[in-house]
Symmetry: C2
Subunit: 339 residues, 2 copies
DNA sequence: CTGAAAGCGCTTACAG
DNA sequence: CTGAAAGCGCTTACAG
């Protein structure tokens, strides 16, 4: 009934710590933030007081006073996609031990959401920012422009001098899988994709390029839908493809969820894979290798992407220049039994 | 080169807004936070200034001054488990439109991590907190005790008067699936589980109870491992079970990933499911219904859990008393073809 | 309905 | 190596 501010009864402040340690507020502050610039005795007393009082620094106060924070914002398009979960986990594994906290934002593949998240998160003055891909709305780009801490882009590669990025060429991956299929003798190779985010479209371009090179490009064999990716959708896309183009002998699905659904449907239809129809996916999710037939797909090293991007950001946040501005982690076409 | 603080060049403050709107700092503040308590003209001018200057409130300053924030912390054990992703997505869907931001923390099923996250997140003075389950370390419990904003617990149910929770009885779910298997005539029903988090152990207890009721409980048929759950692990657990107890005629796996792995392995071994061996899972992930044979499992409505928990927390943060302190969303045993 | 003052809990130059 | 003062950008009682 006495205190006018309703803060937790026992939350100790730095001033309490200083009092208890018998030093000034700012010596206490220094003992915590630059322990080496303070006498051993002082440091000991302060640490002891911190322990005794259960002192926890107030992030808002710290961030307000220093115009910095230990926050790192990460914007990804989805959490339902294991690819991004793996990436975020890896990022966390390198940033957390370094004392950073992650703010994870999910844009659901929507440019407006991307922009909203960017705006909200940057208001917190994060020490660093990790974003997915380079494409965004003009407004979002403007928001990014006014941000003056380091940014590292995940998943895609850029040749621009000012960009820091860790990823691989989505275009090349799409092209290379297509070439493998062509090499195996498939001639009427369809391409099926959902979500239609930038990376999907880059893979589609790769597919087109490879098909054109082989003189086999047929726009009608592309089935692109903005719907959310899922196993069920994969089954539906296969149905549509089969109904419209019975001549197809292979389908390259833009991700493993779709390919898995197609594999399941093929089984229901008693359609032999790969004899009657080859099926390929993208990402090499855990289930891919276990399917029967085992799924041919493109292995992407998203854990590695997260790890390297986290390390790159760490260097930048420390004011160091990382060894490379652009890391290509590559990909690997994994030919198994389904194609 | 002039300003001594390195804040973003153009970041406008509320004071800039006030100046531009020709009013006092605090009228500007009020126009934003309590628009109805201010004259229409003032509100208009302030909004106009906000727009013109691209003003974005400073979260740290706001939180420091008001001892509140628009942050809601969510602690879950894993993001690799689709169950928690679904839950978090649903939470976000109800909290975001209400103006809250989520801080998502992943404990990886480790009590120390749970405690560390709690400590770190509560330092930010979140307006509300969502945690998974009731079990935690004493230290973590103490941290929670000193937190004086609302807490809602996900996934589990409590009868304590002071707890707010949304979930279902993991014990009952474990027992009920086991009873269904017994009813179908299976007699040597093994139980296989990984991770060994509290909910897993509650399901195991349910299994035991049902087996005892049927006079069929055999401790040797329980295979519990602290290893991380995965498809591959499910296959391995099946191997072990088969090697040690060839007499088993059914296995109840603690989650769908494990069950999927077992289904895949059974196929490799040309082991007929469910004739030779029945297999059941838990959670009803998307792939479950597509498998061949389709997986018998327990459907959990984690989206609903997230939604209801989010709404309950919203009520509490508004100072209202929610209709119920404890919501049982139930579960459903889905008998398909694998058992 | 509007405003002047104090304060939230820290850090940052600047002195000593 | 240590300290007194100012200030980060807001909100909160309290007056008028």
């Amino acid at each position: 009934m006495s205190s006018r501010r309703r803060r937790s009864p026992e939350r100790a402040t730095l001033s309490d710590v200083a009092k208890s340690a018998g030093c000034s507020l700012m010596s206490a502050s220094r003992a915590l933030s630059q322990p080496e610039r303070v006498s051993d005795a002082l440091r000991e007393r302060v640490m002891e007081a911190v322990r005794a009082l259960g002192y926890v620094p107030h992030p808002a106060a710290r961030s307000l006073a220093s115009a910095r924070s230990n926050l790192v914002a990460v914007i990804i398009p989805s959490l339902s996609n294991a690819v991004f979960v793996d990436t975020v986990e890896a990022i966390q594994r390198v940033l957390m031990p370094a004392g950073y906290e992650l703010m994870i934002g999910v844009s659901h593949y929507r440019p407006e959401e991307d922009e909203r998240l960017l705006r909200a998160y940057l208001a917190h003055q994060p020490a660093g920012l990790l974003v997915t891909g380079f494409e965004r709305s003009d407004a979002a780009r403007e928001v990014l422009g006014s941000y003056d801490s380091p940014i590292v882009t995940l998943m895609e590669l850029s040749d621009a001098e000012e960009d820091y990025c860790v990823g691989f060429s989505q275009f090349d991956a799409g092209a290379q899988m297509t070439r493998h299929l062509l090499q195996r003798g498939y001639r009427h190779i369809a391409f099926a994709a959902a979500q239609l985010d930038p990376r999907t479209l880059q893979r589609a371009e790769g597919y087109r390029q490879a098909m054109r090179e082989a003189g086999r490009h047929e726009p009608a064999l592309e089935l692109l839908t903005p719907a959310v990716s899922s196993i069920g959708l994969g089954a539906e896309l296969l149905d549509q493809l089969l109904a419209r183009h019975p001549e197809i002998d292979a389908v390259f699905f833009n991700n493993d969820d779709l390919a898995l659904g197609a594999l399941f449907r093929a089984r229901q239809l008693a359609l032999e894979v790969p004899q009657r129809l080859a099926i390929a996916g993208f990402n090499d999710l855990p289930a891919a290798a276990w399917m029967h037939p085992a799924l041919t797909t493109v292995r992407t090293t998203r854990g590695r992407i997260g790890e390297l991007a986290g390390q790159m950001l760490l260097s930048l946040m420390r004011g160091e220049q990382p060894p490379q501005r652009r890391i290509d982690v590559g990909f690997e076409v994994v030919m198994r039994d389904s194609a």
